[in-house]
Amino acid sequence: MEKKLLKLRVNGEDYEFYVEPWHTLQAVLRNELGLTGTKKGCDSGYCGACTVLVDNKAVKSCLVMSRQVHGKDILTVEGLAKGEELDPLQQAFIDGFAVQCGFCTPGMLMSAKALFMENSSPSEQEIREALTGNLCRCTGYKKIVESTQLAISKK
């Protein structure tokens, strides 16, 4: 099979390169673009560590063939901050002690970000549902949920 052209806008910047058809969005982000903030935890769509936004919707990038998102707008954890200014979610995760090993953190932030794009003031239940697809083994989730709640007031 020959490589195919892939055009993506990632974190506001346009990229063009050739990929194998079977390369996932996760693989392209990490290996082609060196955006290693998006993590690989299970490579089977379950753990959520690879969560990114495609056209403002949270997706598990290990389940998306990169060519499926040809021409689309991708947001990764590296695109959350604006220069020196952290996204309110990022600041809230720091202040709220939502970060331990940090491996689930990018995926959690992206799922929360997608939620905020649809619902700027979610309830605790809505936050929990939005984060269902993101596993964390360290924190027990409480401070992640609380930090997301904290971010609402910081916006």
């Binding site: 194998e20 079977w22 990490r30 060196g34 955006l35 290693t36 903030g37 998006t38 993590k39 690989k40 935890g41 299970c42 490579d43 089977s44 379950y46 753990c47 560590a49 990764t76 954890v77 590296e78 959350l80 901050a81 952290l86 979610l89 990022q90 995760f93 720091i94 202040d95 002690f97 970060v99 331990q100 090993c101 940090g102 491996f103 689930c104 953190t105 990018p106 932030l109 605790e124 929990r128 549902e129 984060l131 269902t132 697809g133 993101n134 596993l135 964390c136 083994r137 360290c138 924190t139 027990g140 989730y141 409480k142 401070k143 992640i144 949920v145 609380e146 709640q149």
Partner: protein, 787 residues
Amino acid sequence: MAELQYVGKSIPRIDAKEKVLGGAMFTDDFKVPRMLIGKILRSPYPHARILRIDTSKAEKAPGVRAVITAGDVPPVRWSTTIEDQYILPVDNIVRKIDDPVAAVAAETLEAAEEALELIEVDYESLPIVDNIDDGYAENPPAILHPGKLQYEIYPPMSVTYRWDREDPVIKDRPNVLQVFRIKRGDIERGFQEADLILENTFETARAHHCQMETHGCIAWIDGNGIVNLITSSQTPFLDRIGLARIYRCSPEKFRIINPYVGGGFGGKYGVKEEQPIAIELARKAGRPVKIILTRRECFLTTECRMPIRTRLKDGYKKDGTLVARDVEMKMDIGAYAQLGAMLVKNACFGLVGTYNIPNFNLEAAGVYTNLPRASAYRGVGTPEVTWAAEQQMEIAAERLGINPLEIRIKNLLQKGDVDVTGQIMASTAAKECLETVAREIGLGEKISQEPGPWKKGRGVALGNKYTCAGQGAVVTVRVFPDGMVEVRHNACEMGQGTHSALAQMAAEEFGISMESVRVVRGDTATTPYDAGSWSSRSIFHTGNALVAACRDAKQQMFAIAGPKLGVPANELETRSGIIYRKSLPSVSMPAADLFALGGLIALEGGEIVGKGSYISPIVLENESGQSERMVVYYAYTAFGVEVAVNEETGEIKLLKIVGCGDMGQPINPKMCEVQIEGGAIQGVGGAILEEMKFDDGIPLNPNYVDYKIPTVMDTPVVENMNAMMACDPFEEGPFGAKGVGESTLSAMGPAIANAVYNAVGVRTYGLPMSREKLWRVLQEKKAMEGK
């Protein structure tokens, strides 16, 4: 004493910003020039002899740069305890599913995967041992290690590790690797004194840490012949020593870089299977090789939680005093020893570290099976035995008509008491922890039940975890002219937060802001020795070394400043980068004046670098296995839980969790809270969801579809999840700190089991309390009541 400014305060972690930016580097995030991807060919059989391997087609496949088999690796058995495992099958035997057989390094992952399929292997399938009873039998269906008695003990362990090859249980039972016994008092007389004798058998399951980051490494050999490794490990220096043993060379031949680790929980201790494989691929290819394990490989080929069957016979007086305990434990180590052989003994500490038991008898046996290696997972046997002990005591309480809180408190070891193994109790706030959770959960209060199948119940349990003694840590602290300090250490940072807590302690010691402290870690070439992060040891050992290093640095500062100020060095102090006379602070100078040449060089010694080390004192066991100090301390966490159980389906919901921990002085209270919360939920997983399942040695669920770990939906709402602390500062710890990582899990299983019993009147006795298991027990109860 002046109030502490940084220690004891919930200061945001110094690594949190990096992690929320997505810039924190983990092993798989690194790329090295000309790096190849390595993949391991693994056995499809749980037990087999390899008759033939032909790698010729793989060697010619596109993109392949190296293929290795057993002939390419050091032909030595290795382990962290009893050396019984080959890197690749030198003896042509595979003993577990996914046992490494050969390996390939190629330009891309796809090329490596395709090359694996071209390796031809003929196997002769052998009978298997896949349960504890066959493992313990005198005439088992298969013998995994016929040469077991000739195995050697891993030399660094040989001082503290006892292995009696002449023991009849080890000699007569071919798959029994290790036994451990304790005898204290007179067990027969103890049972005679008892008013109530209870005997129950409890079982736990094989479970996995499911660290978010899988294991892996990048290996290359540089121009000086030094093996370089970037690796996700809790123990870079111990890995180095272990590799040096495998290669029969000096540890200095290995340089190990240890970036952030995405979760360890005990599963990343010591040399890992894929490390020497990556090294040999790198050697053969002449290029760096990266091997990152898949989730399946993580489940099956890294060390997991050990299934333990505990037959517990207790004798209680009618006032609840525990007078006698007789324990028989059988443990499923899996195919190779690793830390499992150590766990045979260490699991027992969970039974002896909380309560006073005058008459005690224990025999534990660890057996080989053709299943994944089982050993250290957060608690290292303590949760497994606490599952038994904390339920048995509740059963006794009910039978004797005693409050479950009261029966525990009555039997608690007090500070200074001597436990069953001779250990002197160093520090405990266990009573306060128990009382707190019982009060907060409303233990014993009437619960209003709703109509329908859901029944609510409450329960408590107390768990402990020791920290091993006899290990060391070294820390250096450099002082800069502007008053900044740079700490260098090698505790692991896998989320537990030691890295950040050290910054708080350094800020406290020097009286400077957190922003003035830099903490550097993770490279054996440039950062000092540490035994690593396991056994909940880092805040204590590395913290003590840090405090010593800070004081050493300050002594150097005062030795220079004293003559300049005309003040004896011991009358000086420092704060905010100023050195001043304690009794007259206006007599002072800035740190910059300790240096010459515009700050390039210190006036004495060239640089100001404090060095501190700490090795926890240990007393080795005597002939009767007694020692007053095999562990440094016990930390405690009690849990109180409220559950709802569906009588028709066996489903368990966690409505409320309260945890109260004693970790000595918390260096950062919020970080301790999240350890309690995290331990609680990891404990929920082990209690009701998690079990690695096998059918004739074939794994059924090495993935997240069929092996479920808790999601946020499995947790109580935030207001119903509370972590608290009741601490007994430990005078030997830095600022009074003990450890916290593991005690925060031990009691969750039995707390939930006790709550379930309170709700629906049954116990499963086996872990996990899956819906099916609980449903069956509920059906049995219904049938009995119908009679």
